[in-house]
């Protein structure tokens, strides 16, 4: 097995685990962190699978913009609850 294949297998497994973790985390705040990690893993996956354009998109979106929007949503919901 060459290192590239090994790397591919590893990152795919990590994506699978991170995805499962996002779903199974029931607390939205922890989940936001999970999504951030999941996004990062996907981004790494794209990079390893030779898709740098997509990796860059996924990085700015999945690991930064999306978690930010989620946190802001949670903040607003919490505010409303008070």
């Amino acid at each position: 097995m060459n290192p590239q294949t090994l790397l591919e297998g590893l990152i795919l497994s990590l994506v699978a685990i991170a995805g499962g973790a996002v779903v199974l985390t029931r607390d939205p705040l922890n989940q936001a962190l999970g999504v951030s990690f999941f996004g990062l893993m996907l981004s790494a996956m794209f990079y390893i699978f030779q898709a740098p354009d997509v990796a860059l998109s996924q990085m700015v979106i999945g690991a930064v913009a999306l978690p930010l929007i989620i946190l802001l949503t949670l903040a607003r919901i919490r505010r409303n609850t008070k």
Partner: protein, 249 residues
């Protein structure tokens, strides 16, 4: 709930089995047969003088898809604005409940300085990514999101006056619309010359240069403008209430 889970259990077993059947019929590694990708890989440098094939597909070969995609962003941002603005209006921006809010913790001086110091490089990097999409990975979309984080850094640095000034709502809204409209108009240049919509009619310049690709860099800039403005608006919509409160405190 029990009925739902039973139903779902049945369904998902079937669905996974079917999905598996399809996977088993999909060609294995190295046996993929895609005339499309072969054609693009062969044509994109000679035809478009563009070194990043993904950008060529995105903004030229399948540029019409990207026009639709731009407007998906546009529609969603407007929808979010509508929904959240109304929520703010119902109570009025400065209603009483802000007083009971715990004061937000002020960032330390170190955070402020770092955040402000990062604004410049972020803008430069964003502009670079937007304008070099035809050469290296990146393009209007990725660069646009990077640009959108610049005002956010100003916000993190707790400089609300500047934040409000640079994110003047009307201006940003107009930039977003201009970005979207510009894309539609660039495509229409070809119509004037009686060529099909989105035809790349500009001179292509030397491959590897920043002006290579004809209309591709222009479209990329339009996209960057739209995406950056769109994401600022999204963040703004979610931040709106917090902002009003911070300002009053």
């Amino acid at each position: 709930m029990k009925l739902r889970l039973t139903l779902f259990g049945l369904g998902i077993c079937g669905l996974v089995a079917l999905y598996g059947t399809v996977i088993a019929h999909m060609p294995g590694p190295g046996k993929m047969h895609s005339p499309y990708s072969r054609a693009i890989n062969k044509l994109c440098v000679p035809q478009r003088h563009v070194t990043d094939a993904v950008t060529a597909v995105n903004f030229d070969y399948r540029g019409f898809d990207t026009l639709g995609e731009e407007f998906i962003l546009f529609a969603s941002v407007m929808g979010t604005l509508v929904l959240l603005r109304e929520a703010a209006e119902n109570k009025g921006p400065l209603s009483g409940d802000s007083a009971s809010e715990p004061r937000n913790v002020r960032p330390t001086e170190a955070v402020r300085v770092t955040a402000l110091a990062l604004v410049g490089p972020t803008v430069v990097f964003g502009v670079y990514v937007v304008t070099h999409g035809q050469l290296t990975p990146g393009g209007g979309f990725q660069g646009g999101v990077v640009l959108a984080t610049a005002p956010l850094l100003v916000y993190l640095a707790d400089d609300f006056k500047t934040f409000k000034r640079i994110t003047s709502h009307a201006l940003i809204e107009i930039s977003e619309a201009v970005g979207g409209g510009m894309y539609a108009v660039i495509g229409a240049i070809a119509l004037v010359l009686s060529r099909p919509y989105m035809t790349n009619v500009l001179p292509l310049a030397q491959s590897g240069g920043i002006a290579s690709g004809g209309i591709i860099p222009l479209i990329s800039i339009a996209t960057g403008l739209e995406v950056a403005a769109g994401f600022v608006l999204l963040l703004y919509a979610f931040l709106q209430k917090t902002l009003a409160e911070r300002e009053s405190s």
